[in-house]
Symmetry: C2
DNA sequence: TTCGATTTTCAGATTTCATTGAAAATCACT
DNA sequence: AGTGATTTTCAATGAAATCTGAAAATCGAA
């Protein structure tokens, strides 16, 4: 039977709900992906692998998400580069399977790392270059040029600080976030979440 | 003469360099804008106002950036909503002038605030919703559904923590970043900046 | 209130980016 | 090496975001 690996003894209704919930998550994560400048499909593939937790092959992903083979191939490659999924081989099966990193923090760190690489580092480089471009503060009365440098430096310092901070978290062994965050999260500062923690259960 | 407000006694070459450097900054900031999912023009307008520090009217912006009137109008409106620029009126002049917030940190906070609003909050809302969608852990053997909830909760907690942290910084009076960052930046953690601090001058 | 200067709006043109699909390349196994 | 299954690449297509420009609305001054 094709039911194998994927289907424990679960009622059809419950299974439908499971799939529905997964799809919702995939859709949300995909939407966020676009907002973040990541292709929607790439985000969806990741969401699918993360939320199911199971290794899946190209065809399974294609089918579940309804996207083309080429698209899956490219998305999977990027995700591998990001280090948020990994290849898994099944003995006696030629297909490649992919599985998502299951530790949330390591995953979030990977995302942060990539985003900094794409969104901040190039700007810092550009700022350095520009700073060197216009250093001729020949004489007095060059008020504007000095002002330019001041602003460039301020921006650079700002982003530099953020980057340093972020690297500490995003770095390979950045255990930092959890602890640091928890630490900082303590002091009261007008928390403003609009919806409450509505999770029930957990009881038993 | 038209030279007025904008032109102190500066040599033409120095002025050219100034403009060149400004343009480079504008271009870089604009490029980042696209990466961030902000329209390039909006980012460029902001860059222009920030780096010159001067209030400018629609026509000046149009001319300097070479974009249409409508585009400037829309960009300026968004920037006002973000709270990173403000209107300035000159007595006896009907035109509206715009000036960028000059404090870097307040500016960075504004940017962070907007990005969280667009990039994280909707995801958290969606996660809550999904969590409620599939709560029927009817019996035992519903391993997969429990696993789903576990993953949803983990992601939600992760982002929740990040959001809390970020709100602390991005909040209206979030003096936090500077101090907190400086604090955290102290402990040594394999700084990896690829280029050195090359700013000279500052001497005299 | 009237008038002209200024700003806003928005349908259509343009540009940018993601996706497809099929051909080419790769690869595991014999 | 040969073979067929699997993956990768990439030109062409499609979709989405952005921008323009001119008409309509707004606004301040007289």
């Amino acid at each position: 039977m094709a039911a194998a690996r994927n289907t424990p003894d679960t009622s059809p209704e419950a299974r439908a709900q499971l799939l529905e919930a997964q799809d919702r998550f995939i859709a949300s994560w995909g939407r966020m992906g676009s907002v973040w400048g990541i292709s929607r499909t790439m985000a969806e593939v990741h969401a699918l692998l993360y939320i199911t937790g199971q290794p899946m092959c190209t065809d399974e992903i294609m089918e579940r998400l309804g996207v083309s083979r080429g698209n899956v191939s490219m998305s999977v490659r990027s995700l591998l580069e990001w280090g948020v999924i990994e290849k898994v081989r099944h003995a006696g099966d030629r297909k490649e399977y992919f599985q998502a990193e299951q530790d949330v923090w390591s995953m979030l760190r990977a995302i942060a790392r990539e985003r900094i690489k794409r969104e901040v580092d190039p700007l810092l480089d550009a700022l350095d270059e520009i700073g060197e471009l216009a250093p001729q503060v020949e004489a007095k009365s060059q008020e504007e040029i000095r002002a330019l440098h001041k602003r460039l430096d301020e921006i650079r310092d700002g982003f530099g600080l953020i980057t340093t901070l972020a690297h500490k978290f995003a770095g390979p062994r950045g255990a930092g976030l959890q602890t640091a965050a928890r630490l900082l999260a303590k002091a009261p500062v007008g928390r403003k979440r609009t919806h409450e923690r509505t999770r029930k259960g957990d009881a038993s």
